[in-house]
């Protein structure tokens, strides 16, 4: 009798977590999937089942393909950029110089600034009309740049702004990882005559795979879903150059009254993100 009871106890403890998962993760996903197969009829206000019609119309829509391209292109640049910078920053913040805590504090400041505040500040600084960045460029004898107002520079400007805000945060996780690497490994390798680079390649990097996996996956997910800077700074423009999928989905839902299209985009994004994350897990699988 006791054993049967005991068998259920672990599940009971798991219940709150499972209920949370079900409620906050699975339910919205299923709900989105169902919504993406429906459309709202005006006048009658009836919700009609349309199967995969929303997906078919998306695949025939050049705006969707452009947004998909922008999203992937954006992620192709921002993720390696942020991870490399974060790793570099973490290595610097892990050095043993005096007052390192001061630098660690500074590093964290952009993280504490909210995304809208950061976006608006950068918008003012990057303004083509008398923005401070252009004033500096002109003072240095360079020509002023349009930044967010140009379709060739807007996405890169957003990569820069998002990285300014994000890198310090991700560096923190990598820093924690670096501090977990046992000093004895470095001692042993230096006795074997390993150079700094060899130490990094053979000690630091392999030992960092776990925190790195976490950071890589989190950065990818965060940037796939990033849309606040585009929403605040460019509204997807100029010429759709920053119109990422999530912004297009937002517009469909809340400007164009097309919830079916909006949720179809979200479902597609979910699939793409899942595939990318799965690949990342595979590549970064720790061997120890």
């Amino acid at each position: 009798m006791m054993t049967v009871k005991n068998k259920w106890v672990p599940y009971l403890f798991l219940l709150p977590a499972f209920a949370g998962l079900l409620l906050f993760k699975l339910y919205p996903i299923i709900s989105a999937l169902l919504q993406s197969m429906h459309t709202l009829e005006f006048l009658t206000q009836l919700v009609r089942f349309v199967g995969f019609e929303n997906y078919v119309s998306l695949f025939n829509d050049p705006v969707f393909w452009n947004s998909l391209k922008v999203t992937l292109w954006f992620n192709l640049w921002i993720n390696p950029f942020q991870i490399t910078l974060a790793f570099g920053l973490a290595l610097l913040l892990n050095t043993g110089i005096k007052q390192i805590t001061f630098f660690r504090g500074i590093n964290f400041i952009p993280v504490a600034v909210s995304v809208p505040t950061a976006a608006i500040l950068w918008k003012i600084m990057l303004s083509p009309e008398q923005g401070v960045v252009n004033s500096i460029l002109v003072a240095l004898g360079m020509s002023p740049q349009p930044f967010l107002e140009s379709s060739s520079q807007a996405l890169a400007s957003i990569v820069a702004i998002a990285s300014w805000k994000g890198v310090g945060y991700w560096a923190l996780f990598l820093l924690a990882g670096l501090q977990e690497v046992s000093p004895s490994l470095y001692e042993a390798s230096s006795m074997d005559g390993a150079s700094k680079w060899q130490q990094f390649k053979s000690v630091t990097y392999p030992m960092m795979k776990r925190p790195l996996t976490f950071v890589v996956v989190s950065v990818t997910v965060a940037n796939m879903l990033l849309f606040a800077p585009m929403y605040i700074l460019t509204k997807g423009g100029p010429n759709q150059s920053t119109n990422v999928l999530l912004l297009e989905s937002y517009n469909s839902a809340f400007l164009y009254s097309d919830m079916g299209r909006a949720t179809a985009i979200v479902v597609i994004m979910l699939v793409i993100t899942a595939i990318i994350v799965a690949i990342e897990f595979r590549i970064l699988r720790a061997k120890h």
């Binding site: 002023p144 423009g237 100029p238």
Partner: protein
Amino acid sequence: MKKILSLISMILILLLAACGGGNSDISDENADTDGDETGGTELSFIAYSNYEAPLEAVIEDFEAENPNITVKLELAPFEQLMETIEIKMGSKSEDVDLLFVDSPLAVNYALKGYLEPLDSLMSPDIADAWVDSAVDGVTFQDQMIAAPMNSSSQVLYLNKDIFEEKGVPLPKENERLTWEEIIEIAEQLTYDSNGDGQNDVFGFSFDQIDRAYQLLALSDSLDAEMVSENGLEATGYTNSPEAVEAFQFYSDLFNKYGVSPRIDRAESIDYFISGKIAMYLGANHNLPKLEESDLNYGVSLHPYFAKGEVATPTGAWNVGISKYSKNKEAAAKFLAYLTTGEGAKTVFEIGGTLPVANELLDFIETDPMYDEFPNNIIRISATESRETAVPRPKTPGYLEWETNMNGAFKNIKNGTDPQEALNQAASEIDNLLKKYEEAVE
């Protein structure tokens, strides 16, 4: 074991129920207390934040007369107003009673079932209180779906000091320049005042930069229609040769002549007040703000193309009652107070906006108070709104049209070829308008 199993399933069911039905339960409770006569009624009103001062004054007076009704303002800046309405109304939220309705969106809101027709809620002859054009704008299938609150027009404000400094004669108050003349004068008034190599005083700027509301006056002057008769096609209209010519002019202001600063709408009035713009084509309701500043300014009439017609922007704010409101009677009472009689007068006096109530328009026309500057700006606007104003395109998908056009205007400002920008916008708009086909037939 059975006990635990049933416990688990019960918790799960409870959680799911809380998730699925939670919203409506909570709203119902609210609605009950709101509707309670003894406890008083609270109305929630989604409004454009620029109207905070006049609306609060009206609400104060209204609440004094109707102690058991309170009105709570939910303010949003222009950029977020439409989205706030879409999100709230799209989710059939019951906590909205009254909402701002931009004239060209009235049909769209009616199609989506956001608005309660007013005919059964307000007295049948109330429509006589407003000018016909305003009533037309909010009539859908022979029913009034919102009440007009105010209208707007644009005048050409002039910074007298810049004109004097550059020795350019100031246009007269009753003079209507052509766009060609505007360029000529603006070029003389654009210069680098601090010697840093970049122009910082500009000859001309629109108030609502990149906004269809104001820029349509360009294409209207060349008689370009923006959408097809049934309001469902933009290609061939939005990107017609006339439209391209009109918006090529917009592009030239920034890219060819460099007489307008590449700024956003929100910055334009401050640029004018701080003396960085010589000629500012702006709304009449900027008047209170200009009077507060110490700017030495004058006024002239809205320009037009030499080969075209005189056309000025217009657009009204209306207020509608939500279909999902639980307090429609009380909302109608407030709405009548706001848009006619004392309320309309307060909105006009405090907000400086152009009224749509016949009573007030007659007053502006005849009262000597409006003979002299700066109050004559109100009279000029009233005349323009009756004689030269062209309403915005009629389409059930005005929000889609406008959102994409505003984006196109921004691209044109930043150097995209107008033909290219308008072609792209037109094809995107066509795609978005398809969903209204069934509704319009």
